[in-house]
Each structure stands twice: as structure tokens, then as C-alpha cells.
Symmetry: C4
Subunit: 348 residues, 4 copies
């Protein structure tokens, strides 16, 4: 089977992963409308491609928080990579480094931060965290991450409670006994129920800043009001995200929310996006609408499920090639030429 | 089979109810467009969820006409509960009381008002009525309901004649011989044909007010003009309803009509809604658009069909959990924080 | 099989008519988009029903060109009724008279005008005509119709050439040898190819007026510009029609064009509509948007196919009952209460 | 099997062509959204047909760059006609001449320009070219074409690189060994990879003009900005095209882009269109929106696949008949009567 586009990896993963793992990765909240809208929303955005521009020398590099990456696609934080591939997050880290892009490691990793760091020592890594009821847990994680060379903290803001994912309930999803949330030394079920703190507010950003010199990025913002609050509280970046449609169903698709957030932020901090990226042209659309970089969640897991770090590199390489080609066909030779003029957005 | 969401109860009821009963409950008028639009219309409403608000203490209680209920979902008036479960409306009353919410008993009940009252003595009950050709019938019903502690009268305004439900005609729907419209001591066929008075007008509200001290709520309003008339005639509440799409096909979905009615009413009376509620997030949308409370019709019948009062409690509990979670994920810790800002409505 | 709604007659006709006849009646031009849009367009029109209006005495009668009919639905001109039922147009005439409504007999009838008149002597009949290359043919038809008591002439304006109906071409459609275009004493193939005059212009209306005292109605108007021309040329009525989607594919649905035409005409002449009427509520929508009366084409043929004049009466009676019920449920007790306020039209 | 409309030829070609050839002709880039939108977009354009205009004498001729053609449909440049029919482009040239219309021969022809010219000596032929890395190659092609009597050069602007066509990658598409890009004396794979020059800019138009007296037409323009640039650089015509959806997926449908381009050009040069033409009414819509002529790509190949030059003539004749009939039914007797007033465009 030729692996030509990301859907091929999706089909592979669906076929070969245990159903319970596939369902967990695929799950959306409730009716999965937002999960699906994340993808469909791109169809309402049309390019306005320009012709006869010199695109012989293509430069698709960009910088995020000042660090150069090979193209504007990183790995979003997702949990439990060992469900997809035995080496788990170690493979993810190696693939990201090999492709010279950013990997946001999840608190819910099945490898320790130390293992992840060791797997790809000089790779660009950010660390995703929650604020735990036991603030000491969060504090230790932050300090471990900083010590290990993670270069930013990504605070997930959209999980005061876990979204209702029907298939996981039906399947009685839980991790196999040999997998652990190694960074928490806890069972996942325990974590889900009792560790995350639903009383977190914007002031906790200040507390987090007091613990670390790392820049803080907030993930899960969908409105201009929250974007404004994020900027005012000193975050350095915003990831427009609806958690892959796994939290509140029937909020906006991320590409739709991006427009609102970018307009509110007015360039004061970097804005990223995850959710629904399936083709290089999706990346181009997100950048045209103001994203500095996008992150892939499920496609990274499909790549791991296919062939571990090699599979994930395949996924990234396909996206890279597609992105470069889309840029060229739209008339842009470098990322700096991408702008709002490149797309027309149809109203919902 | 795990009962995870309301669709599971629907599937159960469709499988286990006699076809003629399922068809009767499921029926919509004509092409069933309005019945289906009631549900589809929610997909055009998107949340604007807010993050990092303290949602550790969730309060989902509300009050309707001054009485507290555990969450803003009550039981809409529907007929013939014995078609779904042997104990019929007695089970419905018990479940509503157990869940501390409001049950609107239908004139077309297969238990007497006395039986319903006795089943759940201190429960919050309202009584739904029609105005009959023989006004004495209506008067007696009103007075019985008042004497039995029903706390409001719900006048159904949208049945001058019965809507055309094709499946019921094909099936030759009628009640099994052992079921009766016990409150009318009549056969259903007789009632449908000859008892309801199509000459009723707004002035009959005054007549009704002269019979009782109970507050009067009008059910079946879909326009601002009628909402204004309702307020002027002294009703205490309006249920925006299209009778589950069983009367006039191709009127508005109730969630669409709600916006118009709420705007006209300007807070002078409480506005409720029924039709199309299938998830906790639907409740949240209705409240965001100005409903004080919503009522469920068919889902209550599916719950009864599943396991009588236990099944209906399951349905209510699922809605309650989903509503609470949706609120939290949207950033609201109490019902008072829900408002118009929480949603974006796409044009039809 | 219970005949509950018009779709039941359609299913019957599709099952029992010879394929070549079914295909001929069902045919639309090219991709049949307009044929189908005629029906779908009604879904974009929503009622704004009013409650608590006295609808105990329903009056659904109306007048067209001063003559009362039992309800605002007549029989549109369609050809070849013997393909549907042996007695052909004689049955149609009898059914229309029995139901006290108007029948527009087609030039392409398989019975003579004399036979049609004799079948229902005092029925309200209009005669549909084309302008033939040989003007004498038209003149004779006009004079025969006038002499036989037809009360209006309906000039079809949208057939300078016959539309391209793919199935008819594939089937090699032609009339069975025992059927004739009796009013023309011609074979249909000959007519189609050579008799109709594509050079007809608005001035021919004057010529037609010079031949007869009968009022002239023009059928096939879809724009405000043509509506204005029609009024200026002294027609007494306009039938908004796209020939059931059989002529130019991808023009407007008739219910959409109706709004434009009614607005242009400003009440100076009566405006009617055909195309897409399948339910009583469709009739109500057309009247709410300004039609004085609607005409049914294919549904009349399905009725004939089912049981001749009895079947057509069944069709008309169902539409009548549905129309009366829709009116009542929308809060209108008489046709004069129907108005623009009753509907909301979503944009295409 | 009756060949009644273009879809019949498509079905034939799909059934009888080798899969690899069918896939190559049918291919679109990525998800094929633009390929499909090219067709679907016509459904959003509705005619406003006018009645009672003398359409007895129909004149469907037009002129492109001053040369009369029998109707406003030519043959778009597509490659590898021998994949569809053994005589390849020679048959195409003969059919175009027989139907008195324009054939744009592709650089990627499987016959030489000399063979194409000889096959239809006095036919109206334009030559499509790319600008090659080796400018001498382009220069020689231009000079050969001019010498052979080709009357215009069509510069394809939307292929700095080849679009990603998944099926071709899966199939490992390449030409059979006995077929050659005869005009380049090269293997196709070589050409695709290394011959086209992605550094081409608008200034190369001046270089091209310096080589030839032939008028230059630019193909692949989709925005007003590029349309303006094209005019300023002295092109004589613009073909609004997205390469049949084979280059950048999710740009605009060509009929949508046409409106923008026509408005920008303001009649200074002729504007043409290709992509999505499947019916005579599509041609009429394109002309109503300002196209001077349209070109067919895949339908021409289906015609070839059916019966070589005879098959292509069948395709053209059907389009011609449908176009003439659509014009007549819309009330236009000659191409000069077609205008913007004839259509209503629904917003995307």
C-alpha cells in the first residue's frame, strides 16, 4: 500500500491498532461535530493563487519563539504514544528532531520527560502541562522540564473536566497494565478523576510564571475575549485549539476561531493552531489567516502506528512536501509572502 | 448495551416498543421536516467557550415560577405513557420527583390526575390542558388539578385540529382497548374528533383565569406577535413549542423561534422551550438564547420504555451530567452566568 | 396500500405505468435540476403560524378571474392523459368539475375539446394553446374553445422549441399508434418538430386578443421584466411556471420566481403558479407569497393513473384537506387572511 | 447505448479506457475538491429566462481574436491524446476543423505539431506552451508553431511544479513505451521533473513577445490582480483556468473566478474559461458572465475515447445543440444578446 497522503496513514492505523486504542485516539466529545468540523471548515476557505512569481527557490522555514524550524508544522501534545508504538514518546521525539521541528510533549506521556529528552537531546521540545489540584505536582513538572531543556511550557486551558467521549465510555477505556503515566507515577483513571484542578483561573498564570523562566504558551483559546486576557497575563503564545473536538462539542472549528483570535491579538504574541490539519494546503490556509505555526495531533499518532519514528517522519515529510508545493502553486516562495490576501473565507 | 447518551434510549425504544406505539411517539406532521429541524437547528449554533474560570463548584439549579428545580430540564406533556410502560404517568411523576424537576402531566394521560398526584405527592407538577367544546369539561379538569396541588396550568395553543401524521393514518393508530384517557373518561378517537374547540381565541385566557388561581402558561407560541399577545393577556410563562413537529409542518425549529420570542418578551414573563433537546449542550444553548428551562418529550418516553421510572431517571441524569459538563467546559459555574455571549448563531 | 399523501400516488404511478409513459411524465430537461428545485425550494420557506384565532369555520374557497372555485388548486395543462388512463382528458374534466375547480385543457390532449366539454358540461375550463406556424390552426382552436364554453385562454410562452429530456430521447418516446393529438389531427412527432412557431413575440398577444373575447392568461413567466410586459400587453393573468422543469434547466424554482413576479405586478392582474406543489402546505406558501391559485401537473396524472377520475378526485381531496388543515394550524380561517406575514423566506 | 449527453461519453470512457489512462485524465490535485467544484459551481447560477422573443433564426457563431468559430466552445489543451485514441491529436485537429472551432494543441502532445497541422491544414489552431528551463526549447517550439500556421500562443501559467495527483502516484503513471512527447523528443518523466522553469515571471511575457508576432494568451489566471497584470503585460486574451483542478486544490471554481476576472479586465482583452463545462447551458452561463468562449478538456478526451474524431465531433455537436437550445429557451437569438442580465448568481 502506497502511503501518499495522510488519509493513508489514518486507514492504516484504523486497520491495525487495537479498536480500543483507535477509538481513544479518534474520539470526539458527544456527537463529534466539532472534531469533524475542524476538518470540514477548511473547505470553506478558498485560495486566491497568484501566477508567474519566481518560485524556483522555496524557503519554507519559520521561527517559533525565535527558534527556527524546518517548516511551520509541529507535533501537538497527545497522550499515551505507547498505545500507538512500543517506544512511545521516545520515537516521537526522535522523529521531530530528525525533521527539525517542535515536539510538545504531553503530561500524559507514557515515557518520562527524562527519557524523551535523552531520545533526542538537542531537539526543540516544549512541555504541555495541566495545573493539578496538588500544586506541588505541577511545580515539580515545570522544574523538571526546565532542567531538561524543554524550551517552553504549554498550559492546557480547556480541561477543567474531561469531555464526554462516548466510545471511551462504551469501551471502558483504560491504559493496559504495563503502561503508566510515567511523569505522574499514577494510573490514568486516578488522574482523570481527581488530579486536574477545575478552579484554575487566569491568576494561576502568574503563579506559573513565578516558578520558571520558560515562556508560557496557552492552549485551548477560542475567543477574542480570552485571547485578550491571555496577552494581558503575559503569555508568549496562544494555541487556538478545541482539543481535537474532545472537550466541548459544538464550539467553533479552530480555523474559524483563528481569525477572531488573530484579530484580537494584533501581533502582540504568536498565535498557533491545532485541529483538522490533514494536508499541506491546510497549513497554508492557517498561515494565511495568521497562524505562525500549526501542530498535528492524530496524524502524528497515525504515523507512529504505521512505523514508529519512521512513520511519523513520513507523515511530516508528506506534509512538508505538500505545504511547499501548495505555497509554490499559490505563488509564494517563502513563508513571509503568505498573507491574508491569499485566501477567501466563505461565511458559515 | 451501555446507555451512554439519549440516542441509546431512542434505539432501545425503537427496537422494543410495538411498531404502532413507536410510530405514534416518533410521528411528525406531513414530511416530518419540522420534527427533524428541531434537532438539526442546534448544529447551526456554536459555543463561544471561555477558559480559566473557576468551575470547581458547579450550581446547575434554577427556578421556574419561583420554584427551585435541580436543573433546567423538565418533562414536557405527552400522551399515553402506558404505551411506553405499564405504570404510565405514575412512573413519570415518580421519576420527575426523584430528580427534583417539573413534570407537566398531559390531559391525554392514561392515569388519572389523582393517580399521578398520589404517585409523587410532593413533586412539582403542572397540568397541561386544552379548551374543550364543552367548557364544563375544561373547568372540571382545572379545578381537579388545582385541588390536587398542580402548581400551574399549561394551555396548549397549537391544536385547533390534530396535525396530519401519515404513519398514524397508515397504522390506523388507536389506543389498545385496556387503555383509556382516564381524565376524560373517553375514547381517544372521540376526543380527537370532537372535543377540542377550534374556536378558542385569546379571550378564552381570561375565562381560564376566572376559574383558577393557578398561573397560566401558554404552550405552542412561535412568533413575536403571539408572544406579545400572550404577555398582554396575563400569562405567566410561554413554552416555545411546535408540538414536536406534530402539528404544522415547516414552521420554525423551536430553538430558532426562541430568539424571536425572547426578544419580544423582554423578560416580562418566563420563556421555556421544548422540541429537539437531545444533549446537555442543547439545554445550554437554549438557556444562552434566553430560555429559563427546557422540557423533553420523546426522550422521556424512551426512558420510560427502557425501564419505567428508573429509565426516565437515567435519561434525566445523563442530561444533567451533560449539561453540567457543558457549562463547565464553556466556563460557566452557575446558571446565572449563562448568557447570549456564550453562543454564535449562524443564519439559516 | 393506503393513499395518504400525494407521494403515495406517485409511487403507484411509477410502479404501474409503462416505463415509457412514466418517464415522459416525470421527465425534466437536461439534469432535471429545475424539476427537483421546484419541490426543494419550498423547504426554504418557513411558516410563522399564529395561535388562538378562531378557526372553527374554515372557508377555503377563492375566485379566479371572478369565478369561484372550491379551493385554490386547479389542474395545470399537461398532455396525453390517455397515457395515464383510458378515458384521458374526459376523466380529468369530470374530476375537476366534481371537485368544483378549474381544469386547463392542453392543446396536446388525446381527447377533442368537444369530448372534454361534453364530459363535464358546466365545469370551469380554460384552454391552453400554443401559437402555431400556421396561424389558422391557432385561430380555429381559439374559436372552438370559445364556442365550447372554455372561459379563458392560457398561452404557453416557454416552448419556442421543446426542452431536451434525456429519457425521452433514450426511450424514443412517441405516442402509441391508437392515440392522437385529436385537436390537431396530427401525429405528435410532427407537431413537435414543425408546428410551433419560435418567432412568436409579445405582439402576437394583440393578434390573439383580436380573435376572441376570452381573457388571455400567459403561462411560463419567470422574471419581473416579462411580468411587466405581460401586464402592458393586456393579459389578465400570469402563470409563473417553468413547465415543470421540462424546458430550460436551471432557471428559478417557481416559488422563488413568484416573489419577483408578484412584486412587479402589484396586483394589476392575477398571478398563479405551477410546479412543485405536493402538499397542502405548499399551496398555503404560494398563496402567502401572492399567488391567487396554484395548478398541479404531475400529481393530477398520478391520480388519473391510480383510478381515473376517482383517483384524481382523491388527489384533489387530499390537497384540499391538507390545505384546510395547514391554514387552520397557521391561524387563518379564510383565504383572505393569508398574507406575506405568514412566511419567512430563507435566501438561496 | 445512446449517446445523449456528455455524461454518456464519460461513462463510456471510464468503462473502456485502461484504468491508468482514465485515472490520469480524471485526476485532480489532492482531494479533488476544485475539480469537482468546477462542475458544482454551475448549480449556484440560475437563469433569468425571457419569453416571447423571436428565436426562429438562431445565430450561435462568435469570434475569438477576430476569427469566426461555429459556436463559443473550443478544445482546451490536454496532453497525451494517444492514450485515448490511436491517432491522438491528429483526430482532435480533424474534429475541431470539421466542427469549425478552435483547437489548442498541447506541448504535451503525442503527435508533432507538423502532424497536427497536416491533419487539418486550414483549421483554427492555437499552441499551448510552457516556458522551459532551456529557453531555446521554448523558442524553437514558438517558431515552429508560428511557421505551421498556429494563430496564437497560449502560455500556461499555473505549472511551476506539477500538482499532486494521488492516483497517478499510486498507479505509478507513465506513458506507455510507444508514446512520446514528440514535440520535445523527451520522455514525460524527464519533462515533468526538470524541464519546466519555476522561476518564470511576468517579464518572461516580454521575452516571449520578442520571439513572435503571434498574439499571446495566458492560461491559468484566477484573480483580478493577475488579470490586471496580464493586461498590462500585453497579453491578448486570458483563459480563466485552474488546470481542471489538477494543480492547486481548493482554489476557486473557474466560473466563480470568471466574474472577478471579467470585472477587472473591463473588456480590454478577451476572457475565456475552461473547467467544468458539461452542458450547453454551462456555456451559456459562462458567456452571460462575460466569457467570450469556453474550452473543454476532459469531455474532448471522452469523445476521442469513444470514436476518435467522430466521437469528438459527437461531443461538440451535442454541446452545440444544447447551447443553441438553451439560448433559445432563455430568449436569445444570437450570442450578442447574451449578457449579465441572463443569470442570477447565488453567493457561495
Amino acid at each position: 500500500m502506497a502511503m501518499v497522503c495522510l488519509s493513508d496513514f489514518e486507514a492504516y492505523a484504523k486497520k491495525y491498532l487495537p479498536k480500543i486504542a483507535w477509538d481513544y485516539f479518534a474520539a470526539g466529545a458527544d456527537d463529534c461535530n466539532t472534531r469533524d468540523e475542524n476538518i470540514l471548515a477548511y473547505k470553506r476557505i478558498h485560495f486566491r493563487p497568484r501566477m508567474l512569481r519566481d518560485v524556483s527557490m522555496m524557503d519554507i522555514r519559520t521561527k517559533i519563539l525565535g527558534t527556527e524550524i524546518s517548516f511551520p508544522v509541529g507535533i501537538a501534545p497527545t497522550g499515551f504514544h505507547q498505545l500507538a508504538w512500543p517506544d512511545g514518546e521516545k520515537s516521537t521525539a526522535r522523529a521531530a528532531k530528525a525533521m527539525n521541528t517542535c515536539y510538545i510533549a504531553s503530561t500524559y506521556s507514557t515515557c518520562t520527560l527524562e527519557e524523551i529528552s535523552a531520545a533526542a537531546p538537542s531537539g526543540l521540545r516544549w512541555f504541555q502541562l495541566y495545573i493539578h489540584r496538588n500544586r506541588a505536582t505541577s511545580q515539580q513538572l515545570v522544574q523538571r522540564a526546565e532542567a531538561l531543556g524543554f524550551q517552553a511550557l504549554v498550559l492546557t486551558a480547556d480541561v477543567p473536566y474531561t469531555g464526554k467521549r462516548r466510545d471511551d465510555i462504551r469501551n471502558g477505556f483504560r491504559l493496559p497494565p504495563h503502561m503508566k503515566l510515567k511523569n505522574l507515577e499514577q494510573d490514568f483513571e486516578v488522574c482523570k478523576m481527581s488530579l486536574l484542578d477545575p478552579s484554575v483561573t487566569w491568576n494561576d498564570i502568574y503563579w506559573l510564571q513565578s516558578l520558571t523562566h520558560l515562556p508560557i504558551i496557552i492552549k485551548g483559546i477560542l475567543t477574542k475575549e480570552d485571547a485578550e486576557l491571555a496577552v494581558r497575563h503575559g503569555v508568549r503564545g496562544i494555541i487556538v485549539s478545541n482539543h481535537g473536538g474532545r472537550q466541548l462539542d459544538e464550539g467553533p472549528a479552530t480555523i474559524d476561531a483563528l481569525v477572531e483570535v488573530v484579530e484580537a491579538v494584533q501581533g502582540r504574541v504568536e498565535v498557533y493552531l491545532d485541529g483538522g490539519i490533514r494536508k499541506g494546503s491546510d497549513v497554508l490556509k492557517a498561515l494565511a489567516l495568521g497562524a505562525k505555526c500549526v501542530f498535528i495531533g492524530r496524524p502524528a499518532l497515525w504515523g507512529l502506528a504505521y512505523k514508529g519514528e519512521e512513520g511519523l517522519q513520513d507523515v511530516l515529510r508528506i506534509l512538508q512536501d505538500e505545504f511547499r508545493l501548495s505555497m509554490a502553486l499559490a505563488g509564494c516562495a517563502s513563508v513571509s509572502e503568505i498573507g491574508r490576501h491569499l485566501v477567501q473565507v466563505s461565511k458559515l
